[in-house]
């Protein structure tokens, strides 16, 4: 048992929408916030949102958002007594968690031991097997290549190569036939080395039409571990989630109870504390297997917040302060929540990132529409970071109502100046297979292969183009590209134009 240590000032070791989202909760709780930023982010939304902000280095993440020493320096300088890592960057780095605690501050997340135990996919597999958590059949790499090949063949193709230290789809390869195993293995190892500084990979059975279903966990310092039901995240492109929802259209109350109990068992086994997520892959027959446990706040956490009516970041902070969980089991969920991730990328061209300046951003609004956004009109979507623009989250009293609301909100959402996946998301949400809840991780390959943006309103678009105000070359040069942006104080009379 430990005492309660109230948190007064939190350094948010992240950027973009998640930093903004965390800072909002801090303000609501009366806790001061410190933002950190790279040279590329000096004018970013998360910097403006915080009470204080510290520059921690040049644009590349490795020289700023991944620099434990500079982040700790900023925390010390500003007198922060806690650090929230957000997701990505250092959020699942046990050395960071240890360094924060070592400096006498509170890490708003799990202890280094739990991160280590669950961070490596091979470790977590062993742990799962020990505690009766089902895992997908897999073969670990063997120096004896012939024995390894034999073992893979015995398991049966198709198989999936995965990086042991991985995440986010990097180092992953699907192999359909024996002769592809060797070259794909080498490719996956190189990718893994580059992304995670480790070339350790393993091969597992690839499930056909699988669904991604995960359980939100909350655990306190007093031994209580609960789950807050599931999220389904089966709509993915390049192994990355783009549409998430809760409840899952697949899950029955019985399966929810069983999978939830399994997730709690795994978290309890490592003495997990704070918020985490146990990810499962579920096959067509409802068999479920552990994918991994993420020891941090998930990108898609807001859908859980909307159906349960709670703030997961606030819960994380209360847990970190040493307070016991406020409930013994999940509050009863109400209605249905959906999330779409808006990216600056080109779905008609291999989802290639499309960095650049956002010339005009108009956020949707209305009842039960939430847009967690880290940019605004005039912001630069930098090629240094993830090209996610925002997460659009809606709630409806049932799934069809949530789908209709998401369609409306996506239609109202204007992000101009960069290519985005907005139209693509609209086509996913509007697809009849989506309406029926027939989801699986290959959904977009099956239903939207070769997608091109629609031209249905082209005639109206040409009419609109015909009447646009003529371009003013002088102004364009001042606000476009690398040229210095329009400074209102240089032309005071122009302000508000």
């Amino acid at each position: 048992m430990r005492g309660i240590k109230p948190i007064k000032k939190v350094l948010v070791a992240n950027r973009g929408e998640i930093a903004v989202r965390i800072i909002r909760t801090l303000r609501e709780m009366g806790i001061r916030s410190v933002a950190v930023y790279s040279e590329a982010d000096a004018g970013a939304s998360h910097v403006a949102a915080a009470d204080e902000a510290c520059l921690i280095g040049p644009a590349p993440s490795a020289e700023s958002y991944l620099r434990i020493d500079r982040i700790l320096e900023a925390a010390e300088k500003t007198g922060a007594d806690a650090v929230h890592p957000g997701y990505g960057f250092l959020s699942e780095n046990s050395a960071f968690s240890a360094a924060v605690s070592g400096a006498g501050m509170t890490f708003i997340g799990p202890c280094p031991k739990a991160i280590q135990a669950l961070g490596n996919k091979l470790n977590s597999r062993e742990l799962a097997l020990k505690h009766g958590v089902p895992v997908i059949p897999a073969v670990t790499e063997d120096k004896d290549r012939e024995a390894f090949r034999k073992a893979v063949r015995k398991m049966g193709y198709p198989v999936l190569i995965k990086a042991a230290a991985g995440g986010g789809g990097k180092g992953m390869r699907v192999v359909h036939k024996d002769e592809d195993l060797e070259p794909f293995l080498e490719m996956a190892k190189r990718e893994s080395q580059k992304s995670f500084s480790s070339d350790q990979v393993f091969v597992e059975k690839y499930l056909v039409r699988p669904r991604h279903i995960e359980f939100q966990i909350l655990a306190d310092h007093h031994g209580s571990v609960i789950h807050l039901n599931e999220r389904e995240c089966s709509i993915q492109r390049r192994h990355q989630k783009i549409v998430e929802e809760t409840p899952s259209p697949l899950i029955t109350p019985e399966l929810r109870e069983e999978m939830g109990a399994t997730a709690v068992r795994l978290a309890s086994a490592v003495g997990y504390v704070n918020a985490g997520t146990v990810e499962f892959i579920v096959d067509e027959d409802g068999h479920y297997y552990l994918l991994e446990m993420n020891t941090r706040l998930q990108v898609e956490h807001p859908v859980t917040e909307l159906v349960l009516g709670l703030d997961l970041v606030a819960e994380q902070i209360r847990i970190a302060e040493g307070r016991p969980l406020r409930f013994k089991k999940s509050p009863e969920p109400r209605g249905h929540a959906l999330e779409c991730r808006l990216y600056a990328e080109d779905p008609a061209n291999g989802f290639l990132p499309s960095p650049g300046r956002i010339a005009w951003l108009h956020e949707p609004s209305g009842p039960w529409v939430r847009n967690d956004c880290g940019v605004r009109s005039g912001s630069e979507v930098s090629s240094f970071y993830d090209p996610m623009i925002s997460k659009l989250i809606v709630w409806g009293e049932d799934r069809p109502a949530a789908v209709a609301r998401m369609k409306r909100a996506l239609r109202d959402y204007a992000i101009l100046g960069v290519t985005t996946n907005r139209d693509y998301l609209l086509d996913i949400i509007g697809h009849e297979a989506f309406a029926k809840g027939e989801l699986h991780t290959g959904f977009v390959e099956q239903h939207l292969h070769g997608w091109k943006p629609g031209q249905g309103s082209l005639e109206a678009a040409l009419i609109a183009a015909a009447v646009l105000p003529a371009s003013r070359p002088g102004l364009e040069a001042a606000s476009g590209g690398a040229a210095p942006r329009h400074d209102p104080w240089l032309t005071v009379g122009d302000w508000g134009r």
Binding site: W360, L410, D423, Q455, L458, A461, I463, A466
Partner: protein
């Protein structure tokens, strides 16, 4: 009267708009003429009133690129210089001596004579198309070899108006 060219998904489209009174415009696209109005709703938005419905249009410009969103659909158009489009976009070689009409209509006035030296951008012929007059300009400097446009005569898209030698 304003005449514009937009490249959309690799196809070149032409539009004409002439401002009537207030926010009303006479617009021609894809061979159809409509009267519309465009009410500004801020710097990057306007309400487009078509004969049968109205749409909110979000728009932004980046150099020659125009970003539009309306009726739930996004468009990325590249505006092209009209003279450039006619000689380069529609008819291949920029040095092609035959200068063809980018639009159907009636020749109102011929402004040059054979043997005349012209500068780039100099008006050659005035064409009336759907009650909108527009100047057909020289895409490059040169010497007028032959004038095929005849005042008062109807012309079609692609019909040769002037032959301009380097």
């Amino acid at each position: 009267m304003e005449h514009r060219f937009f490249r959309v998904a690799d196809a070149l489209r032409q539009t004409y708009a002439s401002r009537q009174e207030g926010h009303r415009f006479l617009v021609r696209v894809e061979g159809k003429e409509v009267e519309v109005s465009a009410l500004p709703l801020g710097e990057h938005r306007f309400l487009l009133r078509l004969p049968d419905r109205q749409l909110v249009v979000d728009w932004a410009r980046k150099d020659k690129e125009v970003f539009l969103q309306l009726d739930g659909q996004g468009f990325r158009l590249k505006e092209e210089d009209a003279a450039h489009s006619v000689s380069d976009g529609d008819h291949g070689d920029e040095n092609e001596p035959a200068l063809n009409s980018p639009l159907p209509g009636r020749v109102v006035k011929v402004l040059v004579a054979p043997g005349e030296e012209v500068k780039k951008g100099q008006p050659l012929v005035i064409i009336d198309s759907m009650k909108i007059e527009f100047e057909f300009k020289a895409p490059r400097p040169g010497k007028v070899e032959q004038v095929l446009a005849v005042e008062g005569k109807q012309i079609d898209v692609g019909q040769c108006l002037v032959i301009l030698k380097q």
